[in-house]
Amino acid sequence: MGSVQAAFSLLFHPDRYLLSTILVSFKVSGVALLLCFPVSAALAAAIALGRFPGKGALKLLIRTAMGLPSVVVGLLVLLLLSEAGPFKGLLWTPRAMVISQLVLIIPLVLGVMISALEGVSRRVAEAAHVLGANRLQVAWTVVREARSGFLTAAVAGFGRAIAEVGSVLIVGGNIAWADGTSYTRTLTTAIVVESRKGNFGTALAFGIVLLVLVLCVNLILGFLERPGEAR
């Protein structure tokens, strides 16, 4: 029971360690999602609406990559960023963590977006066409029809990014300064170290924060997803 008490006392009196770790988690996963979203949206529209050879194979590849193990991604990004790799100097920084989370969530976000776009009736595209829309305008119309699926993609992407441990641990290094400020320590990697050290109360507090944050993100997006009025 002592650790539950410790967890709640930390939650009601958050210290610098807890707050800075929340901030690192949010910054890294938020930036990853912000970078991922427009790129994935454009790619998804091109893949779902385009006709080109190898489309089936590409979709299979994306679907396979949706379940990419995060430690494997971490390892690959580590090799890319290491002293021998092409992007040295980034290793063990928040930027490296953003890169590895990007690699991790792009296939997931892309896959969800593609199925959302393919769920839109082809008739909608034809209706837009016969009212005079050009190819770009047709694509934009179909994307707007799939907007709730795009929100789902964003939630899924952010959820995966903020909850994953493997790749941020490998390329971020789980660094916290001596004064208790997190540099590359996220909620998830903090849980790993704290529970290893036997500080179950602290680990539990981080776990609760993580759950509540994911819940809040879902609530906000669920609110946005309500059918709005047309522009």
Partner: protein, 254 residues
């Protein structure tokens, strides 16, 4: 020139299934042309080719809206079509009917209309923008005045089909394509649609419609083309041409 659309030797196949096998067709200014035939005869494919949604694997479709060949891009802006399924966009009725107008309007007018509509929701007593007036006129032409704020998903099948018709009418196209416009409609909606088609022709514009109801074709059409198995097997003239020329088109926006 009386012929405004010339289709030559159109072929189209979906995989192994040949939907069209050599269709020659000319469409004349101001006529109502009905394409009849059983399901699977190629009517929808023909419409998709004529509206440039798909390209013929052999043959050509050419428009001559001003006596000389009209480029595809321009022709597409001067025609409109209503599909067999209404396929409304998930927006309100206004958003659906205004869709084509928004594509064509300068950004200032789009912005103005959006702003006016948003402010009115805050109870600002604003007069309708010109674009809103055109939408309302099109809606009242299909008997749906006041439906603008309704969400498309709450409409009945007949109402949805009429919104799809209004969405095309509001563009004042020179040629209107209607694929099975009254199939599976209630009698009231079907009567409204037929009345709109007649009114459209009276303004000197051209209508191409498909139907598998022969009596509807005879009621409405000047000419009937029978399509069977991807080929035209019969052309029936119901009114004789050679009379006075059809009246000129009303200026756009009028």
């Amino acid at each position: 020139m009386r012929e405004i659309i010339l289709a030559r030797d159109l072929h189209f196949r979906y995989g192994r299934h040949a939907a069209l096998r050599g269709v020659d067709l000319e469409i004349r200014r101001g006529e109502i042309l009905a394409v009849v035939g059983p399901n699977g005869a190629g009517k929808t494919t023909l419409f998709r080719l004529l509206t440039f949604y798909i390209r013929p694997q052999r043959g050509t479709v050419e428009y001559f809206l001003d006596g000389r060949r009209t480029p595809v891009r321009e022709a597409r802006r001067r025609i409109a079509a209503v599909l067999q399924e209404p396929a409304l966009f998930s927006a309100d009725v206004f958003g659906n009917v205004a869709y084509g107008l928004f594509l064509r309007a300068p950004w200032g007018e789009r912005l103005r209309t959006r702003l006016v509509r948003r402010l009115r929701r805050l109870h600002a007593p604003l007069p309708p923008s010109p674009l809103e007036e055109r939408v309302e006129a099109a809606l009242s032409a299909v008997g749906l005045s006041g439906f603008a704020p309704r969400r498309a998903s709450t409409l009945s099948r007949g109402e949805a089909q009429r919104v799809a018709l209004a969405r095309a009418l509001v563009l004042e196209p020179e040629v209107l394509f209607l694929d099975e416009p009254t199939a599976s409609l209630d009698p009231e909606s079907a009567a409204v649609v037929e009345e709109v088609i007649r009114g459209f022709k009276e303004s000197g514009r051209t209508v191409v419609l498909s139907t598998h109801d022969p009596s509807q074709a005879r009621r409405l059409a000047d000419r009937i083309v029978r399509l069977v198995g991807g080929r035209i097997v019969e052309v029936v003239e119901l009114t004789t041409y050679g009379g006075p020329a059809p009246p000129p088109l009303a200026p756009p926006g009028g």
